[in-house]
């Protein structure tokens, strides 16, 4: 009954959006996605402008998560530095918009800030990838860069650390950043509350769809090929360094856009965006949601941030412990993340029926527990290298 033929143009767009590198490609997925989007769009109407304003932070974080999913989940480069680009863009936006002033200043600040993040990503990426830095070294270097930025911004309290009229403010950061606005004097729109929420939702939607198109294109295949085997990809004639640099730069730009939205959301920037804890948080989102799933990264962000909000109100000192526990348990128990896990379960049950599925699950859990006991030295000592997380996708 759903078998209505789509008009050719829509079908062409659909072909670009769907492919082997994204989890949901079926009609059912897109129907559920549309329902989800309608619910998200209706959120401010149901919960009011204030709640929507609060929630729009999570959506802005979604861009950061998306950028990490692209670089880490699809290309296999673990970057702790996404928050660095996020923060650089936020700071740049603050400095430029406050110096120029007015809605026009903010309109100029937006591209400048994203350009600053993009350029930083390009420079760092150039030195790393063309310098032959790989694997863990990339993770270490990006982390070190982020921590050094934190040290730098934290010591800018003195009045000599001013750019134009804006003092960088050390630990206290830069206050007084205005709400997101576009336009020139007299003909501008300023966004807050529900308006800001819808804007960020739209940006995130476009970014998500754009990322889908990217990963399902020839370029996306190259990314995944690099993740699976960089050497073989190079043998096949791909310029691995250039592809890595390009996707790193792009993800820097995405993170930068998120950083601008963050700055206008909270109306301040401070060095905590470069801190060790904040650098970890995107890793947690993406790990939980499923790093090889763009939607998973965003869903993971919403879940973790909602829970972190609950913790910060009810048991603030346990928030970080909770983050650490989530990180460890996800990697150890659901290495691919929850969304791919759900998808696997759905595919399995629909193919094998419920009874067989439950039986299979029981056997799997049994072997897992036995292997775990074995690794502790209880029972048989079968401690081969654990099976890799690679699972052939449909």
């Amino acid at each position: 009954m759903m078998d209505v033929t789509l008009p050719p143009r829509l079908k062409r767009i659909g072909n670009k959006l769907n492919g082997p590198n994204t989890l949901g490609n079926s009609r059912a997925f897109w129907a559920a996605f549309a329902v989800g989007m309608i619910v998200m769009a209706a959120y401010p109407l149901v919960r009011g402008s204030y709640a929507a304003g609060q929630f729009s932070l999570f959506l802005a974080y979604g861009l950061l998560a998306l950028s990490l999913s692209l670089i880490w989940g699809y290309t296999g480069i673990l970057s702790f530095g996404q928050v660095a680009f996020f923060g650089i863009a936020g700071y740049t936006y603050a400095i430029v918009s406050l110096n120029l002033g007015g809605a026009f200043g903010q309109t100029v600040a937006l591209p400048v800030a994203i350009a600053a993040a993009t350029l930083s990503a390009f420079v760092l990426g150039y030195f790393m990838f063309y310098g032959g830095v790989q694997d863990v070294y990339v993770a270490i270097l990006t982390l070190v860069v982020t921590l050094v930025l934190e040290t730098f911004m934290a010591q800018t309290a003195g009045s000599e650390w001013s750019i134009g009229t804006v003092a960088l403010g050390g630990f206290n950061g830069i206050p007084g950043i205005r709400n997101f606005a576009l336009g020139v004097e007299g003909a501008s729109i300023s966004l807050s509350g529900s308006g800001f929420y819808w804007f960020v939702l739209g940006v995130l939607l476009l970014a998500y769809l754009g990322a889908r198109v990217l990963v399902n294109s020839k370029y996306g295949y190259a990314l995944v090929a690099i993740r699976e085997d960089a050497e073989r990809t190079a043998m096949l004639g791909y310029n691995v360094k250039r592809v890595k640099l390009a996707v790193f730069t792009l993800s820097g730009a995405l993170a930068g856009f998120g950083g601008v939205l963050y700055a206008t959301w909270g109306n301040y920037m401070d060095p905590s965006v470069f801190s060790l804890v904040f650098a970890t948080i995107p890793i947690v989102w993406v790990t939980l949601g499923g790093r090889e799933s763009l939607l998973g990264a965003i869903v993971g962000t919403m879940i973790i941030e909602r829970l972190r909000l609950w913790f910060s109100v009810n048991a603030s000192e346990f928030a970080i412990v909770f983050v650490g526990v989530i990180l460890m348990t996800t990697v150890l128990l659901v290495p691919r993340g929850i969304l791919p896990g759900i998808k696997d379960g759905y595919v399995f049950f629909s193919e094998h029926g419920i009874r067989e599925g439950i039986e299979h699950g029981r056997v799997t859990i049994q072997t897992r527990i036995q292997a775990w006991l074995g690794s502790l030295g209880i029972g048989q000592s079968d401690t081969e290298t654990p099976p890799s997380s690679e699972v052939v996708r449909e």
């Binding site: 270490i140 921590l147 040290t151 730098f152 346990f318 970080i320 412990v321 650490g324 460890m328 150890l332």
Partner: protein, 317 residues
């Protein structure tokens, strides 16, 4: 290792005072040298546990800073609460951290061999839990136990910090002996090179991994113990070692002890010079830039360079 440094501690004030006075009178910049010794010691000690675990097992332990913190906490608490003498407390700090490391390897790290990035993330999660758990249990800081030995005679520079250079050398030497001259070291290196063959020769490879990880953790704990008297004891103190230790791993390259020694020397000198002239932050920036330049020019790090030079010299002879 620790007892050796204790013995030097008794002799040094007289010995060092004479030597330094002599040097200063002939125009040697003693203060800068002291600073350099301090920096080199800091970098070597900050990195040693991390590099052993990474070099031997290919696992980056992102909870490294927290292991250092743990060593410092055990030491400080042993002195403050149990009233133990400092050297005993330091040994306890190293041992306690080693045991904790063994437990972590058995329960967590073991399941992630071959999944390098995953093991990084899990240890990162562990680090967060350790930092915040310590904060919840022990509060925001511990009372410091105070630095022994006072200043270097004739200078306003903590003698203890300078003595740590000898501790660093002792640790490096000890690790070298353990990994090259003992049965365990040979078996451990065999396991790292080819686990399959080592197993078929009767080596208990599981145990080798556990013990190697425990040694790396114990050395991190020892670093914490050694810095406990002169550092501020706070739950986040491990973070102050992170930048230095990671930069050292990156710069040092694949041969663990040689890499740490060379990188410690080079980076320590750079850090001392830049920190002295422009402050701590510029020192860190200089380290970072050095690491980036070293990687850009020498893909195999400083040890790669050392091997190339050795090969060239070999050809010439």
């Amino acid at each position: 290792m620790t007892s050796g440094f204790g013995a030097t501690g008794l002799l040094t004030p007289l010995f060092i005072g004479d030597v330094l006075g002599g040097l200063d009178s002939i125009g040697v910049p003693v203060t800068q040298l002291l600073q350099m010794a301090d920096s080199i010691a800091f970098i070597i000690l900050a990195a040693i546990g991390l590099t052993i675990i990474f070099g031997m097992m290919g696992v980056i332990n992102l909870a490294h800073g927290e292991f250092i913190m743990m060593g410092a906490y055990i030491t400080t608490l042993s002195v403050n609460v149990a009233g133990l003498p400092l050297p005993v407390a330091m040994i306890l700090g190293a041992l306690g951290t080693a045991i904790f490391g063994a437990i972590v390897e058995r329960t967590i790290v073991r399941r992630l061999y071959g999944r390098l990035l995953d093991s990084m993330i899990v240890t990162f999660g562990l680090g967060l839990i350790l930092t915040q758990g310590t904060r919840i249990i022990f509060g925001n800081s511990l009372q410091s136990i105070g630095t022994p030995f006072g200043n270097v005679p004739g200078y306003t520079y903590s003698a203890y910090r300078v003595l740590l250079l000898f501790a660093a050398i002792a640790v490096l030497g000890g690790a070298y002996l353990v990994f090259t001259r003992t049965e365990f070291g040979i078996q451990a290196r065999a396991t790292i090179q080819d686990a399959e063959t080592a197993r078929s020769m009767g080596v208990d490879t599981d145990r080798m991994y556990t013990v190697t990880f425990a040694i790396g953790s114990g050395l991190a704990g020892l670093t914490g113990a050694l810095y406990a008297p002169s550092a501020t004891i706070v739950p986040g103190m491990g973070q102050s070692f992170l930048v230095e230790s990671f930069v050292t791993v990156v710069t040092g390259g694949s041969t663990v002890l040689l890499g740490t020694t060379l990188a410690g020397g080079v980076l320590g000198t750079i850090d001392a010079v830049f920190s002295n002239l422009y402050g701590n932050f510029i020192g860190q920036i200089a380290l970072l830039l050095t690491a980036i330049i070293v990687i850009r020019l020498l893909p195999d790090g400083l040890t790669g360079l050392a091997h190339t030079i050795r090969d060239k010299l070999g050809e010439r002879q």
